[in-house]
């Protein structure tokens, strides 16, 4: 029975589904089923979660979410993370990956250092970052002080909480991004670099004309994955601000909003509506991203 080539045969289909079955069952039960329940919940005006009884079918919950000023903050912050923090994180990772790959000594050591955050305890990291951002005693303000920059009340000022969150988010993503890019860089055949040097390209040109185009599939991969992840930021908010969501709710993200509405306020149908909005948004943007990236990415 050959099921690799040719047409979709009935037998081939059966075999394929058998391979897929375990994953399919688990994902259906633990992702799709609750997702459908959430969709259903979101369509009620008010909903008794415990009894699965709702009243007032319609889009009232969506309207409530969309009119909620906390949700507006959440959307703004989430977009900031996705469109500013995430790209910045990838750029920094890229720089680090390029630097690490350009050295010969201690390469493994630096790789280990830069990957370590991936396994460090979230609680420990949260506490440390709260201290780093401390307006009087924080290390970050200390460094800014060296450049005569006034101390910033990162976590106290509603206008700066999002930057604190973004910095923390960037930090948290460096490990994974750097490792992936590092290998990406190392997988680029050396001959291109030799050729470029013979062609007289300076290092800046080599990076922009050779390395980056060669890395583009990796970067796109990270962007798509990072984008989805940045839309789901929750732990970072919790780690920095506890369950309050920052001064005057200024550090809300969409998932934090969902979480608060669900567990804190017990208004599950509203939370579900917000989740549906989020899901649809991620889906749309990811599809656009994939379509756009097809145009620009170079595949070997």
């Amino acid at each position: 029975m050959s099921i690799i080539e040719g047409r979709n045969t009935a037998r081939g289909t059966v075999a394929a589904w058998v391979y897929l079955l375990p994953a399919l069952i688990i994902i259906s039960v633990f992702v799709f089923y609750p997702l459908i329940m959430a969709f259903r919940m979101s369509m009620y005006e008010s909903y008794n979660f415990y009894k699965n009884v709702g009243t007032g079918f319609g889009f009232a919950s969506f309207k409530r979410v969309l009119c909620d000023s906390d949700f507006h903050i959440a959307v703004k912050n989430t977009l900031f993370l996705s469109f500013v923090a995430m790209p910045v994180s990838i750029i920094i990772s890229l720089v680090i990956a390029l630097l690490i790959s350009s050295i010969k000594k201690f390469q493994a050591l630096f790789q280990t250092f830069f990957f370590l955050p991936y396994v460090t305890s979230v609680i420990a990291v949260g506490i440390v970052f709260r201290w780093l951002f401390h307006s009087n005693y924080g290390l970050i303000n200390y460094f800014l002080g060296l450049f005569h920059i006034h101390p910033v009340a990162w976590l106290n000022n509603p206008k700066t909480t999002i930057y604190a969150l973004a910095i923390y988010y960037i930090w948290g993503n460096l490990a994974f991004n750097t490792i992936i890019l590092l290998v990406g860089v190392q997988n680029i055949p050396k001959m291109y670099y030799n050729a470029a040097r013979v062609d007289g390209a300076k290092w800046g040109k080599i990076i922009f004309r050779i390395t980056l185009p060669q890395l583009s599939p990796t970067i796109i991969f990270l962007t798509i994955v990072g984008f989805i992840a940045s839309f789901k930021v929750y732990n970072e908010v919790y780690a920095l601000f506890g369950d309050l969501g920052g001064a005057a709710n200024s550090a809300y993200t969409i998932v934090f909003y969902i979480y608060r509405t669900f567990y804190g306020a017990g208004r599950m149908h509203i939370a579900a509506a917000a989740a549906v909005i989020l899901f649809v948004a991620i889906l749309c943007i990811t599809i656009i991203q994939m379509l756009v990236s097809k145009k620009f990415v170079h595949y070997k």
Partner: protein, 284 residues
């Protein structure tokens, strides 16, 4: 790696650049290591030192007894065992499920493939926080509360890993498959004998990512367990916080204890991770 003395190594400008590169990397490493170092230092401080502002870097006298205290708060031995069991079994099952699904998506032709793959990709985009209660209900209905099944089964099919491995599988040349067919190798055997060994690094990577995630999971294990003998390490960490404050020093001692195995695993398997993570997902 071949160490080639490059002509550019000899120019003085290049040497200057090298110094800058190392400086930047050391500076970066400092920030990467900071939480980790701080965690260990704090685990040896008194509560007063731990919460003092401005922060005290080094404990005046390292309190090794913090570890003893922290570990006596909860049955950490049992938690440790459970965590090891759950993370290992979870990882093995995840790998099996992922391999089967990725193979199907990468190599087989069947009706509904694209639709299904899109659906699975889409499920990557669902925030887990909104699913958790419904999943608890499901698990409770299955009678799995306080069982390893509850801790493990819901997490063994990750759309992300399936996607990752499928990408890698797609890169394995078709010739290998034809060669295997000519040698009388059936699909299933081909998968285990050719594709899996080929994708070893990616699989190890998935295993490690999954293991770390499983090791650090908190909310779900808390939800589905009531009996102390079924609980895991991360739950122990919450024993140090309450409404009015937290015993940071003990918390850090426990946290150090919890992540140490992860770091050891990482250091041992680092070459695989580096190889594996990156090889995947390069082709879209």
């Amino acid at each position: 790696m071949e160490v080639v003395e490059d002509i550019k190594d000899k120019s003085p400008r290049h040497r200057g650049a090298k110094i800058i590169i190392y400086a930047v990397l050391v500076f970066g490493s400092f920030w990467m290591l900071l939480p980790f170092v701080w965690m260990i230092l704090t685990s040896l401080k008194s509560l007063q030192e731990a919460i003092s502002v401005p922060p005290v870097w080094f404990p005046s006298k390292p309190l090794w007894s913090n570890y003893q205290k922290a570990l006596s708060v909860a049955p950490f031995g049992r938690y440790f065992l459970n965590t090891v069991i759950v993370s290992s079994v979870n990882t093995v099952l995840t790998i099996i499920v992922t391999i089967l699904a990725a193979f199907s998506f990468a190599r087989l032709k069947f009706v509904g493939k694209n639709l299904l793959f899109t659906l699975i990709l889409a499920s990557m985009m669902v925030p887990g926080e909104m699913l958790i209660i419904q999943n608890y209900v499901t698990v409770a209905k299955l009678g799995w509360i306080d069982s390893y099944a509850a801790l493990i089964v819901p997490w063994i099919a990750s759309p992300f890993y399936i996607f990752l491995l499928r990408q890698y599988f797609m890169q394995i040349p078709d010739q290998l498959y034809y060669a295997a067919r000519v040698d009388g190798c059936r699909d299933f055997k081909y998968l285990w004998k050719v594709m899996v060994p080929n994708a070893k690094n990616t699989i190890v990577t998935i295993g490690i990512l999954n293991f770390v995630a499983s090791w650090n999971a908190f909310l779900w294990p808390l939800l589905v367990t009531n009996k102390e003998r079924m609980r895991v390490l991360t739950i122990g960490l919450t024993e140090f916080t309450n409404e009015a404050g937290s015993d940071v020093h003990l918390q850090m001692a426990a946290a150090t204890f919890i992540i140490l195995p992860m770091i050891i695993v990482y250091i041992i398997l680092r070459p695989y991770i580096i190889e594996g993570v990156s090889r995947s997902g390069i082709k879209g």
